[in-house]
């Protein structure tokens, strides 16, 4: 009986860990970000959270809003 309980607890823990990983990956993928490509081939990625990217993302939101009327 204790063995069965231990297995159930282990299965629940594994399931919850897998769920957490899945949710974290999904959240990361959906994170707002801007990618800027320059003439020399360099790429700058700006993620939300700091003032400058937030301003750019706000302007991008304005473009989307304008496109959707």
């Amino acid at each position: 009986m204790p063995r069965r309980r231990a297995l159930a607890v282990a299965a629940a823990a594994a399931g919850s860990a897998a769920g957490a990983v899945f949710l974290r990956r999904r959240a990361t993928r959906r994170r707002e970000r801007a990618e800027l490509y320059f003439a020399d081939g360099s790429l700058v990625t700006l993620s939300q959270g700091s003032p400058e990217p937030d301003q750019l993302l706000a302007q991008a939101r304005a473009v989307l809003a304008a496109a959707r009327g």
Binding site: R33, E35, Y37, F38, A39, L46, Q55, L56, A60, A62
Partner: protein
Amino acid sequence: MAQAADALAHLTEISTQIQAAVVFDREGTVLGSIVDDERAGRIAEKALELFRAAEKQGSQELVQLDASLPDGTVFVVRDADRLIAATTGPEPTVGLVFYDLKTCLRGFGEEPPKPKPKRAPAKRTTTPRKKDDAAS
């Protein structure tokens, strides 16, 4: 402007991901779009503001950008003095959209092929026969 309309028509044909697209110049003047004029003007204005703000983030010349948001993605691509701004739904195939936008923008700048001038028909000249030839 026929080639502009062709380039945009081709864009909508090849890319199902693009929901709105506007071609404009560095002053924000709309050169062509796949949306109505009012919306095109607003998109061009906002996209130009976005592009100018993004230009300040680097020391080099900015050629293209994309901004991903939960409800869609904004793309701006520049080719010389022309820019194209486009919007898609969330999580588009970024590389493919950039490729389609660049192709469209290049098509916009191309001059329509000039018809080749027709060659005048060769004149037929008759050379008088030499007397010697005629005699023999």
